[in-house]
């Protein structure tokens, strides 16, 4: 089971690959849309990559609730447990 920091770091790498955002900017309090400029289509790519990397399912209906990096990390942590 990955720790919160491991999930955040993994997610940061994915966001960097998909949207070209520096991985260091991807912190728990950051909003995907407002702070990181990740639009909804890039968000779909991030979610699909995260599903593969962390072995979880994130349904379409949930994606819109993942406003911040912290929301996504918490969702993945819960889904893994």
């Amino acid at each position: 089971m990955a720790s919160t920091e491991e999930i955040r770091a993994g997610l940061a790498e994915i966001v960097n690959e998909v949207a070209g955002i520096p991985a260091d900017d991807v912190q728990l309090d950051k909003s995907f849309v407002d702070d990181l400029d990740v639009d909804s289509l890039s968000m779909v790519e991030v979610v699909v990559a995260a599903e593969e990397q962390f072995g979880v399912k994130i349904p379409d209906d949930e994606v819109k609730n993942l406003k911040t990096v912290g929301d996504a990390v918490a969702y993945i942590e819960n889904a893994q447990s």
């Binding site: 779909v44 790519e45 379409d60």
Partner: protein
């Protein structure tokens, strides 16, 4: 006693595409013009879809007219006389007379009568369905030469005030002549449909719903963008891989990747998911054409052949996907 065994038909050992032609309507519609009806901007549309401008049909550029024009180019390039065509397949969802099939008029105007002629409804995947049917007909002996046409006037069924679709859809036609070939030129199709996702892209109302309205208006297309993006970008990349497998190819054998021109972001995401090698040319016709549904693959193919980015004999992967959700993919040799 007579022998009552029914004889099995037999056709060519292999089928191939002999010629491709396209028709691009004359009216150029800019993002600025689209933004007169939706709260959006040129930059937003470019970022979200890669579309810089699109082509919409003028009144005289009907489904029939565009089908005939693209088919004449395809036949001429193939060196095939219309009288040699045994079947005309038109894939469209935007011919607004439901019956008879527009294919019968197209066939008659081209001079293919009495060729078999019918329409198919597989939305954006229609052209690849048509090519699959055509190649099977050629190999089974049901036809020697088949015209497979994809044509749309989506501007007729697009709501200009719908922020989710107004900037995407466009008009055009593309045709392929399929016939016997020395070597295999059309690989096995990988196709399917998932009716559980019927509502993700659809005509918003039935015609009878419309008649019940106080002020009847033309039904228009609706799309739930994000789930469609996910399905198209990732599920369809798997289907593309299967089509390569079934043709006995690997991704390294590919020269050209021609996905349905749905959205540049889908094209890019699929290319990443497939890990396309650098040498593979990727069709990006959507930038100046918009999403022409069933017409997008033949139009994109023609553009690559005309620009020299692709050449005759290249190995290309067609993959088309859309409302249904329906999809079809096959490896082909470019004419």
């Amino acid at each position: 006693m007579t022998d009552k065994t029914i004889r099995t038909g037999s056709g060519a050992s292999h089928a191939g595409i002999h010629g491709i032609g396209g028709y691009r309507p004359s009216r150029v519609v800019t993002n600025e013009e689209i933004c007169q009806h939706i709260d959006s901007s040129d930059e937003w549309i470019r970022t979200r879809s890669g579309i810089i401008e699109r082509k919409w049909a003028e009144p005289h550029e009907t489904v029939q007219m565009m089908s005939v024009a693209s088919s004449r180019k395809a036949l001429s390039r193939a060196g095939i006389d219309p009288a040699q065509v045994d079947c005309v397949i038109v894939a469209t969802v935007s011919h607004l007379l439901q019956t008879p099939a527009v294919a019968t008029l197209v066939s008659e105007e081209l001079g293919c009568t009495p060729a078999a002629a019918f329409d198919i409804s597989a939305a954006c995947a229609g052209f690849c369905h048509g090519v699959a049917l055509a190649s099977d007909m050629v190999r089974s002996g049901s036809a020697k030469y088949v015209l497979a046409i994809g044509v749309e006037r989506l501007s007729d069924i697009t709501d200009p005030t719908d922020r989710g679709t107004a900037f995407i859809f466009a008009d055009g036609a593309g045709a392929a002549v399929v016939g016997p070939s020395e070597a295999e030129g059309i690989g096995p199709v990988v196709w399917g449909a998932d009716g559980s996702k019927f509502d993700l892209i659809r005509q918003n109302e039935t015609w009878t719903d419309v008649l019940d309205m106080d002020q009847p208006v033309m039904p228009t297309l609706r799309m739930d963008g994000n789930p469609v993006f996910r399905w198209a970008s990732f599920e369809m990349a798997k289907i593309a891989g299967e089509a390569l497998d079934r043709a006995g190819m690997t991704i390294d054998d590919l020269d050209v990747f021609i996905p349905h021109q749905a959205n540049m972001r889908i094209v890019d995401a699929m290319a990443r998911a497939l890990k396309l090698p650098e040498h593979v040319v990727i069709a990006r016709d959507i930038a100046y054409q918009g999403n022409t549904s069933a017409a997008s693959i033949p139009l994109a193919t023609e553009a690559l052949l005309e620009s020299g980015d692709a050449k005759s004999g290249d190995t290309a992967l067609f993959i088309a996907f859309g409302a249904g959700l329906a999809y079809a993919a096959q490896v082909v040799t470019l004419p």
